[in-house]
């Protein structure tokens, strides 16, 4: 699944595409399970990537605020 070079951008794009297809019911039952599975993978990937980013950004921001507090 999670390809080595997959970016959040690309993953989110693909996820949105799948969500749209499913929303407009332009997905056939034959591939529905497959699509949902892919969507789940992408959600999982995006969430972990987002979580990592959030953690890192949070760290940087708290350092920044500490500094400003001092200054």
């Amino acid at each position: 699944m999670t390809e080595l070079n997959l970016t959040y951008e690309a993953a989110f794009e693909e996820l949105s595409q799948i969500a749209k297809e499913i929303e407009t019911e332009s997905v056939s039952v034959d591939v529905l399970a497959e699509k949902v599975k892919r969507a789940a993978e992408l959600v999982s990937f995006c969430q972990s990537k987002l979580k990592a980013t959030e953690t890192e950004v949070g760290k940087i921001i708290s350092q920044m605020e500490q500094k400003t507090g001092e200054g």
Partner: protein, 487 residues
């Protein structure tokens, strides 16, 4: 008269001069005593005895535009006349002297010893002022006319090149034209040196005689000398050193006004004049009333510069601090927006993920549900419809069966009817049936006859009845109309 004794008694036909003089004196006295005249004349050969306060002069009238004398009187002034002259000089700034055109009030007096003389009683200040003003205006017009590049009139004011010069930020190197003896120069120096701000000046004096029309050339020379010194003066100051109130007519001189108007260094005057400004003042860059005022002007100018400097410095300090605090604010704003936007961006992405997730989950469920429903619908159609269809076919078959029976019967009945109709018809028409009703068949010569043609009287015929047959002979033959049976 004692003097007359020196001359012999007049020869007949002559009189003594004194007698003539007495007669003239008498005539003049008769004609002019107690009468005074306002006359316009030019003053010449003026002398002044200051000890006695006596003015001696001549009044002349020249033909216009020439020097041809039309009239000439000796004149003098003392007492009231001298006092009037002093007033005149003070008021006009014009010395009572040769070349002056005046309106004077005179009395005519004849003295045997001095001859005919005019005694000045009064002098019209306004007339001379008018004349002076006329001269001034003429000079002014000439200045404008002859120096169009440097002098012109704008809005009724004289505008000169010198006025167009911009004073240096600081006036520190100063050339001063003054008379060496003048108290004005001392005042000027003193005021500069004792300024309250500690400003230092470099003053170069150019002394000259500053009085009387005739010194105009010298003054112009000094102005030129200032220029030729090559020193980069910030200003040329021309001051008049107190003294006689009548000195300043020189400053209305054409050559001086012209030189100042064209001078390449700003000229500041401190001439001190109570009435209207001199042409020099008008031509100069800046005119002040006194030498002290001129010095004060220079100090104020420098002070203005220093204050401007300090103001700039003050503004700069304030602005620098404002700039720094604005920069601080900008930085902190940008930091805040960075933090907030980053957080909101992450939140937005989280929401988007959840949204996509929800859409996927919910819609997938609804897709599956919809398919299941569709399948069920199809299935129920399939389980019901064929039965109905078969039942309909069955019903159709039954109808056909019933029809077969019904219509077969109807058909047989109809055929039976037809047949029985024919049977009745035949029965009706059978000969047995007809004969039994009373009809008979007539045979002649072995043939059945429908009429009597060919049957002769006496001929034997056979009459056949229902049950029997009769043989008869024809006895008569008649026609009958046969209407008897016509139903």
């Amino acid at each position: 008269m004692e003097a007359s004794n020196r001359y012999p008694v007049a020869t007949p036909g002559s009189i003594r001069l004194s007698e003539l003089s007495a007669r003239v004196s008498r005539a003049i006295e008769e004609a002019f005593s107690y009468t005074s005249f306002w006359v316009i004349a030019d003053v010449t050969n003026h002398t002044y005895k200051s000890q006695k306060d006596y003015h001696y002069f001549e009044l002349v009238e020249k033909a216009e535009g020439t020097s041809v004398l039309l009239a000439k009187f000796s004149g003098s002034a003392w007492g009231t006349g001298s006092q009037k002259i002093a007033e005149f000089e003070k008021a006009t700034g014009q010395r009572f002297t040769g070349g002056l055109n005046v309106l004077v009030k005179v009395t005519v007096k004849y003295q045997a010893a001095y001859g005919l003389q005019l005694t000045l009683q009064d002098i019209d200040i306004n007339f001379t002022l008018g004349v002076l003003e006329q001269q001034r205006q003429a000079t002014l017009l000439r200045l404008v006319r002859d120096n169009p590049e440097h002098i012109r009139i704008e809005d009724g004011r004289l505008k000169t090149s010198n006025q167009g010069l911009v004073l240096n930020r600081v006036i520190q190197r100063i050339a001063v034209i003054s008379s060496s003896t003048s108290a004005g120069f001392q005042d000027f120096q003193h005021t500069l040196e004792n300024n309250g701000w500690g400003y230092r000046f470099s003053v170069d004096p150019y002394f000259a005689l500053i009085q009387g029309d005739h010194n105009a050339g010298q003054l112009v020379d000094k102005i030129v000398a200032v220029y030729q010194s090559g020193v980069a003066y910030d200003a040329l100051v021309i001051i008049r050193g107190g003294g006689a109130q009548t000195d300043f007519l020189i400053f209305d001189h054409y050559a001086i006004a012209r030189a100042i108007a064209r001078f390449p260094i700003p000229v500041i005057t401190g001439i001190g004049h109570q009435k209207n400004e001199t042409l020099t003042d008008l031509a100069a860059h800046t005119a002040t009333k006194t030498p002290t005022k001129a010095a004060e002007f220079i100090i104020a100018h420098n002070r203005g510069f220093e204050q401007e400097l300090l103001q700039l410095q003050k503004n700069m300090v304030i602005k620098s601090q404002q700039l720094l605090s604005a920069e601080n604010r900008k930085l902190s704003m940008i930091r805040t927006s960075l933090v907030n936007n980053t957080r909101s961006m992450i939140t937005g992405h989280k929401d988007a993920l959840v949204r996509n997730n929800q859409i996927t989950i919910n819609t997938t469920k609804s897709i599956l549900y919809r398919h299941r429903t569709g399948l069920n619908n199809l299935y129920s159609k399939l389980s019901i419809q064929p039965k109905g269809m078969l039942y309909k076919h069955q019903a159709e078959l039954s109808i056909i069966c019933r029809n077969l029976k019904t219509f077969s019967n109807l058909y047989s009945k109809s055929q039976e009817n037809k047949l029985s109709h024919y049977a009745s018809l035949i029965k009706l028409m059978s000969p047995e049936n007809i004969l039994s009703k009373g009809f008979a068949i007539v045979k002649a010569k072995g043939k059945i006859r429908g009429n009597a043609d060919g049957i002769n009287l006496g001929e034997e015929i056979t009459v056949i009845l229902a049950k029997q047959q009769l043989v008869a002979t024809v006895t008569s033959k008649e026609n009958h109309d046969g209407t008897e049976f016509n139903i």
